[in-house]
Amino acid sequence: MGFFSTILGFCGFGAGISTGLVIGYYLFIYFQPSDVKDPVIRPLAEQDSQSLQQLLPEIPPWVKNPDYDRIDWLNKFLELMWPYLDKAICKTAKNIAKPIIAEQIPKYKIESVEFEELTLGSLPPTFQGMKVFTTEEKELIMEPSLKWAGNPNVTLGVKAFGLKATVQVVDLQIFAQPRITLKPLVPSFPCFAKIFVSLMEKPHVDFGLKLVGADLMSIPGLYRFVQELIKDQVANMYLWPKTLEVEILDPAKAMKKPVGILHVKVIRAMKLRKKDLLGASDPYVKLKITESKAPSKKTTVKHKNLNPEWNEEFSIAIKDPESQALELIVYDWEQVGKHDKMGMNVVPLKELTPDEPNVMTLDLLKNLDKNDSQDDKFRGQLVVELTYKPFKEDDMSKDLDNPLQKAPEGTPPGGGVLVVIVHEAQDVEGKHHTNPYVRVIFKGEERKTKHIKKNRDPRWEEEFTFVLEEPPLKENLRVEVLSTSTRIGLLHPKETLGYVNINLADVVNNKRINEKYHLIDSKNGMIQIELQWRTSS
C-alpha cells in the first residue's frame, strides 16, 4: 500500500509539475508584455548620491585616465545619426537574411521564419574614451572603449507543424575594447591599406533570449554558461594577438612598389660637340627616370674626350613602365661653375621589349620640344643598352608578406647586408642655415642623403646598404646630420646639426630595429633610423 501510494505520489507529482508549469507559464509569463520600452533617463544632476555611487563602476576611462581622450562629439554625432542608422542597418539586415532563410528552411521542415520586429532600439553605442599609441612604424593604433547597452528588439516568428513560436532577443549589451590598427600607411587615399581589429580584453556580452515569452537567459546557471561560451568563442577568434584583417586597398598597388628593374648600360658616346674653350669637353651622363623621386645616377667623368667610352651599368627600379621614361642627359663636367648640358634624349619604357637587351643609338637633342626647330645641330650620339626586367608575380607578394628580406645572392656566407634607412629628423637647427642632409659612416664608408632646403623637420626616406663579410657585432654606425649653405660664400659653408653613434650588435640580434635617436650636439633634435640585418640563411 505504502509502496503503491509512493509510486502514485511520484506519478502525481510528475503530472502535477507539468500542469503547474503550464499554469504558472500562463499566470506569470504569457501575459507579460514582450515589447521593449525606452528606459527613462534622468539627468545626472537630479540623481541622489546613492544612485551616483552605482554609476561609478561604469565611469568612462577618460575621466579616470589622462591618456584617454574624450570623444563626446563623436557620441553626439552617433546619437543624432542613430535613428537613421538603425533603420538603415535593419533594412539591410532584413534584405540579407531573407534569401538565406528562404534557402535554409525547407531542410528543417519549417514553414516560415519571419522578422516580426527588428530594431536596434533608441540607445546608440557610446565611446567612453579613445586612446592612441604612437610607434615608429608606419601604422596608426587606436583603442576606443566601446560600450553599447542598447534596447534592441529582434523578434523572429517561426512556424512549423502548424504551430507558431517566437524567439526574441532583447537588451543586448556589448562592452569591448577593440584595438584598431591601420597599416601599412600608403600614399594614396584613404592612406592605409588594411585595418586590423583585435580585442584587448574578453568582451562583456549580456542579453535576454525569450523563447515564447520566457527568458532562457534567466535560468540560473545557463546565462553564465552561455556568456562564457560566447566570450571564449570570440576570444578564440579576435582576442589579441589574434586579429581580424580587413583589406581596404591592395597594398602592392597602393604602395606604388616597383614592378620591375631597368638595367642600363651606358656604352659610349660619339662625336660630342666641344663646349670647353680650352681642350675637349669632360663628358658624363646623368640618368633619371621621369616622375620618380629617386635621385639621378651619374657615370664617371671622362676627361678631355669627345668620344668617351664608359661601359658602366646601372639598375633602376621602375614603378610604372607604361608612363615612365628614361631620361639621359650628357653634361660637360666643370671644375668651377655650372655644368653645361651637351645634349639629351628620352626613351619611353613602353618601347622596350621586356627581358631582352635593347641596344640603342640615340641622337642627342637640345631639348624635348619638337617645335623648337631653330636648333637642330648635330650634337653627337649616345649608345646605350637597356634591359627591362619585370618582376614575377610571386616575387612581389613574397616581398610584401615579409618585411625582412633575405640578403641577395652572392652575399658571403656568415656575412650579410646591413640596411640603413634614414627616415626623418625633427627639430634640427643650424646656427646659420638649416639645409639638412644625413651622412652615414660605417667602417670609413660614407653615404649621403639628398639635401632638403630650409627645413627643421626633414624627411628623407632613403635606403643605404653595406655588404659585410661578418656580422658587425663590435662596430658602430655613425649618423651625422649636416647642413650646407645654399649661398656660395666663405662664411659658414658647412655646419653639423648633430650626430649619433649606433651600436650594431643589437641590430644583428634583433634583425631589425626602428627607433628615434636623440642627436648629440643638438638642442632637441631627433632622428629616426631603421636598421636591418639581412642574412642569406
Binding site: 501510494s5 509510486i7 502514485l8 505520489g9 506519478c11 502525481g12 507529482f13 503530472a15 502535477g16 509539475i17 500542469t19 503547474g20 508549469l21 499554469i23 504558472g24 506569470f28 509569463i29 507579460q32 533617463i41 539627468p43 545626472l44 544632476a45 551616483l52 554609476l55 561604469e58 568612462p60 575621466v63 581622450d69 563626446d72 562629439w73 557620441n75 546619437e79 543624432l80 545619426m81 537613421y84 542608422l85 538603415a88 542597418i89 533594412k91 557610446t126 592612441v132 560600450k147 547597452a149 542598447g150 534596447n151 537588451d171 549589451q173 600607411l185 600608403v186 600614399p187 594614396s188 535576454g208 520566457a214 527568458d215 534567466s218 535560468i219 620640344d369 617645335n371 627645413n455 624627411r459
Partner: protein, 527 residues
Amino acid sequence: MGLISGMLMGIVFGIALMAGWQHMMRYRSNKRIAKAVDIKSLSSLNRDDLKKICGENFPEWISFPVFEQVKWLNKQLSKLWPFVADAAEAIIKDSVEPLLEEYRPPGITSMKFSKLSLGTVAPKIEGIRVQSLKKGQITMDIDLRWGGDPSIILAIEAALVASIPIQLKDLKVFTVVRAIFQLAEEIPCISAVVVALLAEPKPRIDYTLKAIGGSLTAIPGLSDMIDVSFDTFFSLVKLYAMLFGLTVFLYKDTVTSIITDMLQWPHRIVVPIGGIPVDTSELELKPQGKIKITVLRANNLKNKELIGKSDPYAVVYIRPLFKVKTKVIENNLNPVWNQTFELIAEDKETQSLIIEVFDQDVGQDERLGIAKLPLIELEAGNSKEIELRLLPSLDMLKIKDKKDRGTLTIQVFYRQFNEEEQLAALEEEKRILEERKKLKEAGVIGSTMDALDGAASLVGSGVGMVGTGIGAGVGVVGSGLGAFGSGLSKAGKFMGRTITGQSNASKRSGSSTPVNSVQENGGAKPL
C-alpha cells in the same frame, strides 16, 4: 491519496518554479536596463555632472571647451600627413594639370607644376563641435589651423619667352569649417555634405606669392613690337593676362572675394554622397529676399585730397561678387547721392550689408570708411532710415584710431521672396553670372560659382584657387587691351618681387563690378 497529494505538490512546485523564473527574468531585465541607463547618462557628461560624481577629486586633466579638443586625432593626423600629402599631391597634379592645359592660351607652350609639395606640417584640428540645428541634419564645426610650409611652383613656358616659375609658399589657413551632414535612412546614412567656412571668426588665409627667376624683359622682339601682326599681338596680350592672372590669383581682392563668395557661410559647397538619389536643392543657398537700398547721403567725410576735397562714391554689396556703385560726387565732404539699388539676400540670419565709401583718385581709390549692417536687424516689409558710423575697417583688431570718419545715411527696405520670385531671382542670378562668364571668354573657368564648384569639389580648395587664378587672368583679356599697356609697364617691376596676399588686409582698390575689379587688379601695382 498519494496520487492527489503528489499532483497537488507537483502543481504547487511547478507554479513556484515558474514564479521563480519570472522573478529572475524581471530581476535580470531590470539590471540590464539600469546598466543601459547608466551608460547612456555617462555618454555625455558636462562639468557639473562630473563635479557631482567626483566631488572633491575633480581630475585636473579634464576641461570642457566649446570646441572639444581632439588630441588623438591630431596625433594620428600628423603621423598620417606625409602619406596624405603624397596622395593629395598626386591628385592635385592629375586633376589640375589637365585643367591648366585646357585653358592654356596660345603662346604658352606648357604650364606645369615643377614642384608641388604640401610640406611637412600637418593641419591641426583645434576642436570639434557637433550640434543639431535642424532635424535630420548634423552640423559639425571644425576649428582648423594650418600654418603649413607647402611649396608649389608653377612653371609657365612660352614659346618666345623664357620659363617663368611662380611660387606659392607660406600658406596659413585659420578657419572654422562647417560641415552639415544630411541624414538618410539608407547606408551610408549620409546623403549629402555641405561644406562652408564660418563667417565668425572670419576665415584667415595668408600666403606668399613669388615670381622666381626668369625675366619678362627677355621677350625677343619686344622692341620691334610695331611689326608684330595682330594675331601675335593678341596672343601676347593673353600671355600677359595669364601671367598677371596667376600673380593676381592670390591677389586678395579678387580671389578672396571669390573664395568668400564661394565658401564663407552662408555660401557653401554641396557634395552629394554616392548611391542615394537625393534632392539637394534644399541644401543649396537660395535667394531669400530682396533688399532695396537707397544711399541717401554722407556727412562729415574725411578729406583725403591735398588740393580740394574728396570725391566720394559708395560701393554697396552683400556678396562681393555682386557689387553696386553710386556715382561720384566731386569735391564734397557731405555728398548727397540719393540713389537706389536692389540686392538679393540669401541668408538673412548671417549676412550683412556692407557699404564702403571711397575717394576717387587718379591712382588707387582711397577708402574713406566702411560700415556694416547685419540683415537680421531689418524687418521684412518695413522701410527704415538708418544712420551708420563709418569705420576704418570691419576688423576690430585693426582699428587703431578713434577718429571720426563721418556718417552715412541709408534707407533700407527688405522684402521676403515667395517661391516664384525665388526661382526668378535664381534664374536672374544665373543669367548675370553667365553673362559675366561670356565676357571672360567662352569656356574659361571664371569666378562664377558653378565653375568653381566643379573645380573645388574635385580636389578641394587648392584647385579652386588655381582655377580662380586663371579665371581672373583671362578676365583681364576680357576687359580689353587696357590692361596690356599698364601690364607692360609694370612687367619689369613685379618680377622677382614677393607679393603677399592677405585676405584680411584692409587696403584695397575701389571697384564697382567684378569685371572692373579684375581689370583694375590686372593693372594695379602688386602689393
